[in-house]
Symmetry: C2
Subunit: 236 residues, 2 copies
C-alpha cells in the first residue's frame, strides 16, 4: 500500500447476526476468527498485498516479495512495532485454545459467527488454505504511532484487506474493531488510517464505525531519489 | 500535536552559508547541533509541545505533562519506536565527542554553523538552557511506519518545532534533513508527515525539500468515546 489503507468493502457491512435466537436455523453459518499472524503466514500476506495492488491498479508500485516481507515483519513482539492480524474463515466452529495452548498469549483470538443467506463460493480457497485447514480471508497491518498532545501512543492502520468474495459481510469491520479493541485495552489514545477522498462508500463505512475524517490535513512524502539526496547531508 | 507536524517556519529557510571562504568574517555565527534526546530532556520537550499548542491555538487539546511524556517516550532504543532529535544552539562551537565518548552511539550528532546578519535575541534562553550550558531551540519527534508495497519501514514525523526566535534560519530544514538522512542510512523507503492544506508557506518549504503532497488522501481518526466503545467488542 502507498501509505494508505485500501478501500474497505464498498458498502456498509450488514450487521452480523450476533443476537440470533437459539432456535434460528443457521442455514449457511460462516465462522470467522481474527488472530495474530506469524512469519509462517507471510506467503498468504504477500498474495493479499498483491491482490490489493491489483484492485488499486498500482501493481507497478508494489515491489514486496515474500523474502522482503519476512525480513521486515515479525521482528518485534506483537503491538510494539509492525503487527498483522489475520482473518480466517471456516465452515466449522473455531475451538478456543485451552489456557496455555494459545500460540501467542499477547492476543486472544476473536471469533464470530456470521449467518449468510447464501454460502460463499471461494474460487481461491485452496490457495488461501492455512496450515490448520481453514481459509485466510483478509488481514490488517498496523503499528504504534504517537500523539504529543495526548502524550500517548495510538495505532496506525496501514492496510485493511478482505478478499473479494468475503466482502460486505462485516468482516472488514471485524478486523478494524479488533485493532480498536486492542488500542483501548492498551490505554492508547487513537486509531488512525487514511482513505481516498472520492471513496464515499469507504468514508461512510468509517464514519459509521465512529471515525472522524480530518479534511484539512495532507500527507507529505519524501521517497525515492528525493529521499536518497539526503544521504550525505551535513557530512564534513 | 493532533496527529500532525506543526507548520514549519513560514518562509523557505535561507541556505546556511556552508561554503564560506576561510577569510569571510563570521560576524554573528550561530552554532547548531542536532542530537538524540533522552529522558533528561523531557522538561524542555514538554515546554515546546506547550508552545506548539499555543501557536496552533489548540491548548485545550494538549494534555501532555512531563510525567506522561516521561512514561511513554524513551522506552525503546532510538529509531525502533518513538524518537526525538533535539536542536541545540550556542555562541561557541560544539566539540565533536571523541570516539567512545558519544553518549548514544546510535546517532552521531550533526553540527552546522549559520552566519547571521544580526545576533538573535532569545528572551527564553535561560528557560531553555540545557545541562551542557547550550540552548534548546527545537525538536522533531518521529517513529517508524511501514509500507507493504515497498515491504520496507520508513519514518513518520509527528512533530517538527523550532522556537519562534530561531525560525527562518534553516534550522527546521536541518531537523527534517537529519531524519531523512537517518532514514537513508537505515535503508528505509520513505519519510512522511502531514501539513494543513491552507498552509501554503509550509507546503512550499516541504516541496523545496523534495516532498510530494498527496492531495487525495484523508486521515481517519477514531478517538475518545468513539474508540472507548470498542472496549467490549466481541466479548462473549
Amino acid at each position: 500500500m502507498a501509505a494508505a489503507a485500501p478501500p474497505p468493502p464498498p458498502a456498509p457491512a450488514p450487521t452480523p447476526n450476533m443476537a440470533l435466537p437459539d432456535d434460528s436455523p443457521l442455514l449457511h453459518p460462516l465462522f470467522a476468527r481474527v488472530r495474530l499472524a506469524t512469519l509462517l503466514d507471510v506467503p498468504h500476506i504477500h498474495k493479499q498485498i498483491h491482490q490489493m495492488a491489483v484492485f488499486e491498479r498500482l501493481t507497478h508500485l508494489c515491489s514486496a516479495t515474500e523474502a522482503s516481507l519476512a525480513a521486515t515483519l515479525f521482528n518485534s513482539p506483537p503491538f510494539q512495532s509492525f503487527t498483522v492480524f489475520l482473518l480466517e474463515v471456516s465452515h466449522s466452529p473455531f475451538l478456543d485454545p485451552s489456557p496455555g495452548q494459545n500460540p501467542n498469549p499477547a492476543f486472544t483470538p476473536i471469533s464470530r459467527t456470521i449467518n449468510l443467506d447464501l454460502a460463499i463460493e471461494d474460487p481461491e480457497s485452496e490457495t488461501f488454505r492455512s496450515e490448520e485447514g481453514v481459509t485466510i480471508a483478509g488481514f490488517v497491518l498496523f503499528f504504534p504511532n504517537y500523539s504529543t498532545f495526548l502524550a500517548k501512543p495510538g495505532f496506525y492502520i496501514e492496510d485493511l484487506f478482505v478478499r473479494e468474495c468475503y466482502r460486505r459481510k462485516g468482516l472488514g469491520k471485524m478486523l478494524l474493531s479488533a485493532v480498536a479493541k486492542q488500542a483501548v485495552k492498551m490505554g492508547y489514545g487513537r486509531v488512525e488510517w487514511v482513505v481516498l477522498d472520492w471513496n464515499v462508500n469507504a468514508i461512510k463505512f468509517y464514519e459509521e464505525m465512529g471515525a472522524k475524517v480530518l479534511q484539512e490535513w495532507r500527507i507529505c512524502r519524501l521517497t525515492g531519489d528525493a529521499l536518497e539526496a539526503y544521504r550525505h547531508f551535513s557530512d564534513h
